[in-house]
């Protein structure tokens, strides 16, 4: 949705004309040069019309997952974007399912989530445009140190889940239609095991709460590595099955994607600003900032937007090809 609240008095210094905005797309790293340009344009053009033409003073609504928000990543990197464009980013942490639903209702301009299947569905239904691969980390299976089911050392995530199910050791499921929950359900399906019974608890809560709950009960759970690292000092859970970053199975990879809300479906989506945001966050500068973001001395997210390879699959539903388009 476009919030054209022009806060001219506050934002004059960083006002951008349309021309500068396009330059900003190109020069992700040259923040200072752009700031200087912005200063010039603020002096040269002061009329109402120019103010309408730029994005300055507008608000971008980003719905995203708890894992990107709770790790503090977005707060850390957003200041740069806000300064560069003179805009405000309203980041709403909702979980993948809810974030996509808000976007579907036209209540967001851009959406950053981590469940490729749900993203593809969102794109296929026409709600999202210009999907880009953004960054990744991985999932890990964590549990109490004494490991009652004995899954430590298994190099298959599905085997680990089957072992937990056979031992009927307590397992906490997010149960909230989030990206992590979706991944967990996919893993159970891949393992050919139907989870159920007293040992399997759906708590319907965010990752932090799930880790706390598992910690209290001495239970296993599936966590994204970022949230686990950011919370590790508070809990006694340990990583029992590693994800691909530490040499674990590829099935535990956790890619994040970003999409703009389709202005053809939701007329009042702030598409310009959404595309500026996607341009910025996939630029080398912001990608560096993502890879430099650390918590407890560890890198939480690994950028993957900047690549020499064309990587066409990021723009289309997984496995899509033009040959199969007229099925």
């Amino acid at each position: 949705m476009s919030k054209q609240r022009i806060q001219s008095s506050e934002r004059n210094a960083s006002k951008l004309s349309g021309g500068t905005t396009r330059r900003a797309f190109l020069g992700g790293t040259a923040t200072t040069a752009i700031a200087a340009l912005a200063g010039c344009s603020a002096i040269s053009g002061g009329g109402e019309n120019e103010e309408q033409a730029g994005v300055s003073g507008e608000t971008l609504t980003l719905t995203t997952t708890t894992s990107t928000y709770d790790t503090g990543l977005l707060d850390e990197i957003h200041s740069d974007f806000e300064e560069m464009y003179g805009v405000t980013v309203d980041a709403v942490a909702q979980g993948t399912g809810a974030a996509l639903e808000s976007a579907r209702n036209g209540d967001a301009d851009v959406v950053m989530v981590h469940a490729r299947g749900l993203e593809d569905e969102f794109m296929s239904n026409g709600y999202g445009v210009n999907r880009r691969d953004l960054m990744f980390n991985d999932f890990v299976i964590v549990g109490p140190e004494d490991d009652p089911a004995g899954i430590q050392g298994l190099d298959s995530a599905t085997e680990a889940l089957t072992t937990i199910a056979e031992a009927e050791a307590p397992f906490i499921s997010r149960g909230d239609n989030s990206g992590t929950h979706t991944k967990e359900l996919n893993l159970w399906e891949a393992a050919g095991t139907e989870p159920g019974g007293d040992w399997y608890q759906e708590i319907g809560a965010g990752m932090g709460e799930a880790l706390n709950n598992a910690n209290q009960q001495g239970a296993y759970t599936l966590s994204d590595r970022g949230t686990y690292i950011s919370q590790r000092s508070e809990i006694d859970l340990t990583i029992l099955v590693q994800g691909p970053i530490e040499g674990g199975p590829e099935i535990l990879s956790n890619p994040y994607g970003i999409m703009a809300v389709n202005p053809g479906v939701h007329e009042n989506a702030n598409y310009d600003l959404a595309m500026a945001y996607i341009g910025w966050i996939t630029s080398p500068g912001a990608q560096d900032a993502i890879s430099n973001y650390q918590m407890n001395g560890e890198q939480l997210f690994f950028p993957e937007a900047v690549s020499e390879n064309p990587n066409f699959q990021q723009y289309v539903p997984e496995g899509w090809s033009s040959d199969s388009s007229d099925e």
Binding site: K3, E82, A91, G106
Partner: protein, 239 residues
């Protein structure tokens, strides 16, 4: 006490592990949203309570039961209803109210109105019949009688307003849904209240900071209650 004074006083009392201005801004948003909602709902509720206290009309019992049911209405459900109204697809969609304090005020208005109406009504109907008769006997018009009754019932009405405020400032379900719990990247709250901040800390397992924020909320509500009760006392001494 102005909200500003409270906003500056409270963080000074407890050392919180947050960025400069963060706690102050969430206290401000909490007070602004709940305060505005309660003022609006008081302006709406008291006339309703007076009309219901003085007039008899068909369906009065039904209205009463609806109000009483409203007191127990879950805030999450209210949040969802307001979301449907203010969402881009809803009737107020073009106003762009989703994820704003205005939407939060709307939902807290809905939450605070039933307790304020119901308790005010109980206070007004509880005023001794003799007082009304005396006012009438002294030649008072209907308005005079109403004013006398309100004056007698002011303690009850103050309790009603406090109950409404308590419901508004302590609820987390609806403000989380329609407000989105947003802060700017610089850590200044846009739609984050004390309750949603507590929820966020608890979600991250930061139980200590969550408890600290809970204590701030408690102190805030206590001081507001103290101020309101004190006003009531002064009123009775000046009589």
């Amino acid at each position: 006490m102005s909200p500003d004074a409270v906003v500056h006083l409270l963080p000074a009392l407890v050392e919180l592990p947050f960025r400069e201005g963060y706690v102050r801004s969430i206290i401000y948003v909490s007070l602004y949203v709940s305060g505005t909602a309660v003022v609006l709902s008081t302006l709406f509720s008291i006339p309703v309570a007076i009309v219901m206290g003085f007039a008899d009309f068909p369906g009065k019992q039904l209205v009463k039961s609806i109000i009483n049911t409203g007191m127990g209405f879950p805030s999450v459900v209210v949040g969802l209803l307001v979301l449907f109204v203010v969402s881009n697809q809803g009737p107020l969609g073009p106003l762009d109210l989703i994820f704003t304090t205005e939407a939060m005020i709307m939902s807290q208005f809905v939450l605070a109105t039933p307790p304020i109406t119901a308790i005010s009504l109980a206070a007004i109907t509880g005023v001794n019949e003799n007082v009304r008769d005396a006012a009438r006997a002294l030649g008072g018009t209907r308005l005079d009688v109403a004013l006398v009754v309100i004056k007698e019932a002011r303690y009850g009405i103050a309790t009603a307003v406090l109950a409404g405020f308590g419901r508004a400032i302590s609820e987390v379900g609806s403000v989380l849904i329609v407000g989105g719990n947003i802060t700017s990247a610089s850590g200044i709250s846009k739609t984050r209240t004390l309750t949603t901040a507590i929820q966020l800390e608890a979600r991250q397992g930061q139980y200590n900071t969550a408890m600290l924020l809970g204590a701030v909320l408690l102190v805030l509500v206590l001081s507001i209650n103290a101020v309101v009760v004190r006003f009531g006392d002064e009123g009775s001494m000046n009589r």
